[in-house]
Structures are given as C-alpha cells and as structure tokens.
Symmetry: C2
Subunit: 355 residues, 2 copies
DNA sequence: CTTAGCACTCTCAACCCGAGAGTGCTAATG
DNA sequence: CATTAGCACTCTCGGGTTGAGAGTGCTAAG
C-alpha cells in the first residue's frame, strides 16, 4: 500500500515527525502544520511544514482522518519514535520511593505483591495495568502442608519458592488424623521441595504405577494426598487493574468501543496469549495497534516486560492503553516495575533455606 | 409534591398499573395508553386507560418523561408491585440444577464458593452480582497453621469454621524450626478453635499483659506468632461480578452514566455500607432508586439477602441493576442463591469435628 | 528552497422542518 | 354515568441544510 520508506529521514523530517507525535500524544487531536510551525523550534512556516508532512504521509508515518484535518501518527511512526528519537524520562525519585514503599511494606505474599504491582502500573500511568502470574506447573515447590478440617476434608497449602501460595480443599477416603498429616507434610516437603509441580506430578504418577503392589498403606495415602493436592493444573492468572481510568480517555468516547474494550479485558485467554508474545528477550517489548489482532480493533498498545527471579522467567507485566501514550514515561515505568517486582520476589522469598 | 395516595387502588387501577410496569420492564420504553389497551386483558379503550393513567400519575405511581410520551413507573410503583401484585416466578428446575452443579463441584474453599456465587448471580440475571464476605473479626476459628519459609519468614494459614482461608506471611525475630511451628500450631488450634478472631485477639492481648513476667520463652514466641498471624483486621471484602453485562442495557446508553456506574462499583466502602442496610431480617430486601444515595444517582436497584450458617449471619449477597428489572425472577433467584450458598457453607465445612 | 496567498474540502454545530407518537379534553353514546 | 371516538396540541426524533472554521494542496513570487 504505502510507498517504500526512504533509507533515512533528514534531521528536519525527523524533527517534524517527532513534534507531531509529541503533540498528538498530548492533545489526542490531529496535528496541523500550523501548530507545528508555531510550537516547533525550527523557524519554518506552515507551508514548508506542510510539504514535509505530505512526504511523511507518503512514507507511511502520518495519516489524515480526512482531507483538511491535521495529521495523526501511524503505528510505524510510533515504532520509529520509540526506537530512534525518544528521550526516555526516567522514573522520578518521588515515584520510585512511592513504588518501593508500596511494594516493600504492604503485601505479605507473592499474590498480593502481584496485585499491588498491577495497581501501581495502573495508577502511575493512568492506563490499564496487567500482570501475568507464573504458570502453576512451572513453579518450584517450597513446601506443602495439610491442615485437617471437619470430616474427611483436608486443606492443602502449596507454597512456591517465590512465595506464591495456593489453597485447595480435598476430600479423603477416610479421616486422616492430625499427626499423620504433619508427618505427610514433612515427608512430601522433604522429598519434593526444589522441583517444579510438573516434575513432581510426573514422578508421583510414575512412582504410584511402579510400586502399586508393594506400597504400604501409609505411603498410599501420602501419595494420593500429594497427587490431589499438588494437581493444580490451572494456567496463569491475569490480574487487570484500572480499566475505569481509561474511560476518561478521548479514544473511548463512543459507547461501542467501550463495550469492545471491556469484552477484550474479560477474555483472559486472549490476553494471556498476547502477553506471552512478550516472553522472549529481557527488555521492554512494545506492541502497537495492528501488530496484534487484540490491539488493532481498539487502536491500543501494550508495553510489556517479563519478570522473574535469577534467570528464571516467571511472568509478564505491562501497561495497556491507547496507542497514543507517553512512551517516554511508560517504558521506563514498566522497566522499573518489572525490575522492582523481580527484586522483591527474590529478596523476600529465596533467602537462606530453612533446613 | 405528590398528592396523597388513595387508601387502596381499585382492581382496575391495579391491573393497569401492573400492565404498565410489566411492559416497561420488558421494553425499557415509556408505555402508552394504546399499548395497554391492546395488550391488556380488560377490554377498555385507550381513552379510558388514559384517564386511569392520569390518576395513577397524580398519585405518584407513574411519571412521564415529557408531555406526549408514555408513562414510566416510579419507585413507589415498583414497591407496590413487589409487595402486592407480583407473581413470583420460581427458579426453574434447569437453573436450579445448574446452580447446584456449579456450587457443589467446582469450588473447594469458601472464598471460591463466594466467587462462584457472585458469578452465578450475574450470569443468571444478566445484572451485576455482588457478594459480601464475612467480616474477618467475626469469623470463628477452625484451625491455625504455620509453615516455615526461607529465613525468618513464616506463612500463617488461618481457617474459619465456614471454610474461609487466609494466608499471611509474617517475619519472626529469630528462626523458628519446623517442629516447633507444628507444636505451636497444635497448641493454638486447640486453645482457640471455636472462638471468633476478635475474642481471640482480646484474650491474647490480656494474657500477654498478665503473664508478661513469668512467661517462658516458648509461650512468648507462640503468643507473639498468634498475635501477628491472627491479626487480620481487614473489613469485609466485596466481590462484584458482571459489570460488563450492564453495558448492553439501554439505561447505560450515555457515557457519563457508564463512568458513574464504574465509579460506584469501585467505591467498595459505599457498597459495603449499602449492603449492610440489608443485614436485618431474613428475607429478601429490595432497595429501589432514591431509597439510597447510591442507587438514586443511577436509578438503580438492589435486591439483597443475607446468608449464613445456622443462626449466624455471615454476609450479604445480591443483584444490582437498573430499577427496571424482572423482580418476579430476580427476587426468587436471590432467595434461592442465598439459601444454596448458606447450605453449601454449612454442609461442606461444619460437619463432625476432627478431634 | 521558502513562503504568502488562495481556492478547495471536510467537519461540526446549529437550525429548521415534517413525521410520528402520545396525550388531554370534549362531546357523543350506550 | 362510565365509556369512547374524535381532534387539537405538544413533544421528540431523524434528516436535510447551512455557514463558520479549520486545514490542506497548489501555485507563484521572493
């Protein structure tokens, strides 16, 4: 469709494009040649700017909603902006303090940590914050514990090395006394700590098949409890925060798009697959507009980054919002929060082992 | 403003009012005299209906958006409708099956039960489902359990008799070995099970003050752990589900009201206080429009009921939506789900004691 | 190469207008 | 006397029109 881009933009072209993008981000309205001429540093008249802008449109960096409207940056323009001409604005000291305060003191377990992070993402960007929790099968077991409830019910508590906790009530064939449960907890924790739930599951099944005949009663109930309690095959959870803050954005001024947006955020499966596109690479990934079917409908963008402990990637976190967003601030913010969350998870939960 | 209502409506007035309400609930548009005449059983002409409707308006049961529009029921009309002329439509067998299936098989602990209930409320009514979880201080302790994490961290698991589980990570002064934690868990569960968290907290504080001097080391750490672990002073949680389903309702056709609605649902504190108005009485409570500041802004209604185990009220559940809702179906639905949730909580978790 | 000038295009809000819907009133009717 | 047919009146809503404003593209002059 669009003619081939030139190998490189002249400094002037670049400057003008940048100006258009910056003011569009600010105002959400098509940018006219006149406003660029007035506001811009280079003392050119509107007419000259117009020529350049016509070129930029031809290259595919600008578009007009209709004849005689200003120009609007395209997806390509945003990408170029981010890669070559953006001056990132580091997260301010005040914000860093605020983040660390909230992340250090408030949450006690990892799930709360994730929730607070999502909230911070949203609050500090005025967009939607998204955090993907680790896939449960990949988490490394720290401890299992069984608590007797009434009747034949047992509460199984599974803790990962990174501090995520999962509760599950299971029903046993017969009542298992408290002391027995303590022994079982100890045994299972000792034998399986340090392995992923997926590995554990496989080993359990293999072992149950192998030893079926010669297993004593105690081992049988133990393994059965483990199988039931550790079998949490749910995929990753998506924590979405701040959808309402988008309602004030001008791009959501019509009801139909509002509905679409909420439908989008409710379809967790698609969100997960979108977020998973960002799994590779350590830096911040930016997905803009038609890069993905999800973002294209709404003309939205996603700025995302993985988080994890050591070299192990646990999940993804990011900010979702109209393509017209302050990448200069958003990208450092996502970066910082990714690092901070990773650090918090590492510091809090993988200290010296207890035994 | 409005002239005093007549002591009683004639059967004909009543019939007409009912017809207006029913068709308004269905169509969401002002009801004309003509449509009542056509659709209604009593073979009257539009002109006669008009006279009656003018009366009903004078008495405050109907209102017109403007001259030469049809009539719309007022809050008073809905109340009258619910109290005297509504024929409730019992929850269908299919729906009952669906509810019981979802509530029996899916969720394992009480928190999940609440979540599923909220979802069912929303799904079956196409409105917003709300469930208020029990105030944590009022819940009765079933068991406490401590799981050692890394370093000086201990995961405290608190289980209520009704199956609600709370996790909390606390930091201890010095490392407490695993066997010790087991002893402490046992001791605390035995001494405090059956009391509310509030009671326990008071006793703990008193005991710590009394015995400060003569306490041995073990008891000191035990009580300290208990104080920290059982001190969850958070208020009730509000689980809101299905806000998006309201977006298709015609009363939310303008953006401003959509924003208002989402703000409303995000202000958990106000929601709690509204729901708490329904705490008294065992039946289903209906709050319509200007009955409360919360519902008035939007012209919304709330149908709510308490749930609990035995004679102990635990929380509230309800359906929130435009005043124009199918009370004939909604009220039985809330009633049924309240009873089913109560039953599920009772059956699952307060069976025979384990020790 | 730059820019002033101008014609041209497109949107947007305001306005008007007529159709349609519904009412209130009155007079006729059983 | 309740009921109803008839009719004038009111209000909303959608469509069409118009004029102002904004912005562009082009051309010709500096």
């Amino acid at each position: 469709m669009e003619p081939k881009n030139p190998a490189i933009l002249t400094p002037r072209d670049s400057e003008i494009l940048k100006d258009v993008i910056l003011t569009y981000i600010l105002t959400a309205e098509p940018v006219s040649s006149r406003s660029v001429a007035k506001h811009g540093k280079l003392g050119l008249s509107a007419a000259s700017i117009r020529n350049v802008m016509a070129d930029l449109e031809e290259w595919g960096f600008l578009a007009q909603p209709h004849t005689s409207a200003g120009r609007v940056p395209t997806r390509a323009a945003y990408h170029l902006f981010i890669e070559t001409m953006m001056e990132t604005r580091a997260v301010s000291l005040k914000e860093r303090r605020y983040i660390e305060e909230n992340l250090k003191s408030g949450p006690s377990d990892a799930d709360q940590l994730v929730e607070v992070t999502s909230h911070l993402l949203s609050e500090l960007s005025n967009q939607v914050g998204i955090v993907l929790t680790p896939t449960w099968g990949d988490t490394v077991l720290k401890a299992v514990d069984f608590v007797p409830l009434s009747g034949n019910r047992v509460l199984c508590v599974v803790v990962s090395t990174t501090g995520f906790v999962e509760n599950k009530v299971i029903e046993t064939e017969e009542t298992v006394p408290r002391e027995e449960l303590v022994r079982i907890s100890n045994y299972l924790t000792e034998s399986f700590a340090g392995q992923t739930l997926r590995q554990i599951r496989e080993r359990l099944l293999r072992r149950m098949a192998e030893e079926r005949a010669q297993m004593d009663r105690w081992l049988a109930t133990t393994l059965e409890l483990a199988r039931r309690g550790l079998d949490v095959d749910q995929g990753p959870d998506v924590v979405v925060e701040g959808t309402t803050s988008l309602l004030t954005q001008p791009e959501l001024s019509d009801l139909h798009r509002v509905r679409r947006m909420f439908e989008t955020f409710h379809d967790k499966a698609r969100l997960v697959s979108l977020l998973n596109q960002c799994l590779l690479g350590g830096g911040v990934r930016v997905i803009i507009g038609e890069d993905s079917d999800l973002t294209s409908e709404l003309g939205f963008s996603l700025v995302a980054k993985t988080y994890g402990v050591g070299d192990r990637t646990l999940g993804t976190l990011g900010i979702f919002g109209p393509s017209r967003m302050e990448y200069q601030k958003i990208i450092p913010l996502v970066n910082f929060l990714g690092e901070t969350l990773s650090r918090a998870l590492a510091e809090s939960f993988s200290g010296p082992e207890t035994r």
